[in-house]
Point group: C2
Chain length 389, copies 2
């Protein structure tokens, strides 16, 4: 007996992922794999399942939070401490390509399913772990949440208003980016295994992932000895490159060089700004960045964002509105790119969730997606495929 391929078409078609992950970092990773065509079998604790099944908002008694990161997966409830369920789990591992977990380090070892054990028994199996601090180092076994790693990892020190209070990135990028790095690790491991036939372990920490996102802030800090602080919305070294007030809301404008700045000033109806000595070069515009902002806003405040946007767009100047989530989802480009997809769940009816940002020439990008599974919905089907009762 062997497991069938996913019905979803994609580059990872034919790949089977056994998914022990809960809540966000791991499930976001395995949703990416499912969107790429892998069959993802979510192994959950009997009774309650993934903790996020209890997170609001709820529709028809089902967590919309859970649906938004578990669509297109299957569910099997297994108690990994019970012999019968261990038999099922081991049969799954024998058929699977990848196992993913986001337990605290050591948990899999306690269950008898640590990497060394699994690798000895299933040498082709790829093992991926995503955890708060990774599987080594002094904090390895500590609990972590998104807010903890955002605060420790430095990104919050760059986010917020100058002299303002600490500000969290409003999306859980501590979890999400760790899930993304794990997906890169897994897909590169799948490639490698086609070459040499061997599985290996991928170990991604949320705190590590935050460091990887600091990019040039690291060299700016280590060269000068002075860590940078938050700048609101402005660019540290280019001006104008900021969000500006209009008569009714806000507008992003960005001019990467003197030529674009001259064009921007003319489009704003203030061509003289480009001849002002304070604003002649990018270096001088950075020195006088507050004065420049006041001049630009004085002009922009005479009309609405809706007035200005098509004018700057037609002029080819990088610009954009400040959208709330409803406005972002309704944006014609977001719609045209199929970035809001529909999931129809028997309990909730139709819901809208994020689409797959990895578009390809070879595979469909359907506007409707399979719903997230009810707990243990795959029990009979998956056991049957494995030839177990």
């Amino acid at each position: 007996m062997s497991l069938a391929a996913s019905q979803i078409k994609g580059p990872l078609g034919g790949v089977t992922v056994i998914d022990l992950t809960r809540v966000l970092a791991g499930p976001f990773c395995t949703m990416m794999l499912a969107d790429l065509g892998a069959r993802v079998i979510k192994v959950e604790v009997p009774g309650s399942g993934d903790d996020s099944r209890a997170y609001g908002p709820f529709v028809g008694g089902k967590s919309a939070y859970f649906i938004s990161i578990n669509r297109g997966k299957e569910s099997l409830a297994l108690d990994l401490k019970k012999p019968d369920d261990r038999t099922v789990f081991e049969a799954l591992l024998g058929e699977a390509d990848v196992v993913v977990e986001n337990y605290r380090p050591g948990t899999m070892e306690k269950l008898g399913y640590g990497w060394d054990t699994l690798h000895a028994r299933f040498p082709r199996l790829i093992y991926a772990a995503v955890s708060g601090f990774g599987h080594s180092g002094p904090y390895s076994t500590r609990p972590a949440y998104d807010l903890v790693v955002q605060a420790m990892g430095g990104i919050m020190s760059l986010t917020g208003q100058p002299e303002g209070p600490p500000t969290r990135v409003g999306s859980s990028i501590g979890d999400l980016t760790a899930g993304m790095f794990t997906a890169v690790g897994i897909s590169s491991a799948l490639y490698r295994r086609q070459i040499d036939g061997k599985g290996f372990k991928v170990d991604v920490g949320m705190l590590d992932s935050q460091i990887a996102l600091l990019e040039n802030a690291i060299v700016r800090t280590t060269i000068s000895g002075k860590p940078p602080g938050p700048l609101g919305t402005r660019h540290p070294s280019i001006a104008p490159f900021d969000m500006y007030r209009t008569a009714d809301s806000w507008l992003v404008l960005a001019a990467g060089n003197d030529h674009v700045f001259r064009h921007l000033a003319a489009t704003l109806g203030r061509p003289a700004l480009a001849d002002d000595a304070r604003f002649a070069t990018n270096d001088s515009r950075i020195v006088h960045v507050e004065a420049l902002k006041a001049e630009i806003e004085a002009a922009l405040l005479t009309a609405t964002t809706e007035h200005w946007l098509p004018i700057f767009t037609a002029a080819g100047i990088p610009c954009g509105p400040f959208n709330n989530v409803a406005q972002a989802l309704a944006d014609p480009q977001v719609q045209a790119r199929n970035m809001v997809v529909s999931v129809t769940d028997p309990r909730t009816g139709e819901l809208h969730v994020a689409g797959n940002p990895i578009k390809t020439s070879a595979f469909p990008d359907p506007a409707t997606r399979a719903p997230a599974p009810e707990l243990d919905e795959g029990r009979t089907r998956i056991r049957g495929e494995l030839g177990l009762k």
Copy 2:
């Protein structure tokens, strides 16, 4: 003649990437591929090269910004409008596995190197494009920067203080996450090609990538019709889960359930908080979240962060400091995980940059990395490998 493999050991060993990308989203993607063992040959405009070679800070006349996202790559300067250089470029494509570009859509077509043309001539070549708005839709050819897509994509509407001004995520996650999704697309395409022998096109937009990061904010918006706003540092539906003031700075504390809250209150020296009717359940704690914060801070303000951290850590309560970038880089866990690596460049001397967050059991994770290339440093070597003058 054929191109040698990268000296870097990793799952993508033996893969060759021709990298036409500039500045951030594309170079971040190809740095991930280089860290995973791919040989990345950066094709740059003769004379000036990648725009980011002109971005500060500079050390020894070389851009540290450029080094921090181009280490471990090679450089070849080619003018893709000149016949001789086109011959070299086409010889490279004939040997390569992947080509990556982050031009505005249409640029490759104008050069005669659009996807259809390349696919017909090099059917195994994987083509990846990362652009502001993707290769379809009404905004496809518009210019975009990180700030533009952060503002349009909704994440900024969730980031900041309640009633405060717009706040940008302090790292360029518009670029970085698009680069990460592109890396997932490329590595899954490499896997697929091992199965079916065919290359395909991967098309990632920065705006799309922002939508993919909104996770549960999408369902919260579409279900209620009310888009969520920024919350500073607090969690929308769990309390206490926030950053709190101490005598000298700040401390993150998180209690995901009533049991942990009781333990947190006792550890804080205020066990009575857990018996206060306002704080009896998570739901009531969310209603009284400001009063709860005041109580917690009243206790924390009696001592420093350095006093409190080991106490909460020993109690097993998720907690952490608010680190600036210098503190984050010096953190013992970050150091133990090799997340700050050393690059020694002949011009700059030793610099420190981010390590690779994708740790594996199969490949080394060296503490020193190859420097970023000088413009066209690979001219003789790469032409020689191709059998060209």
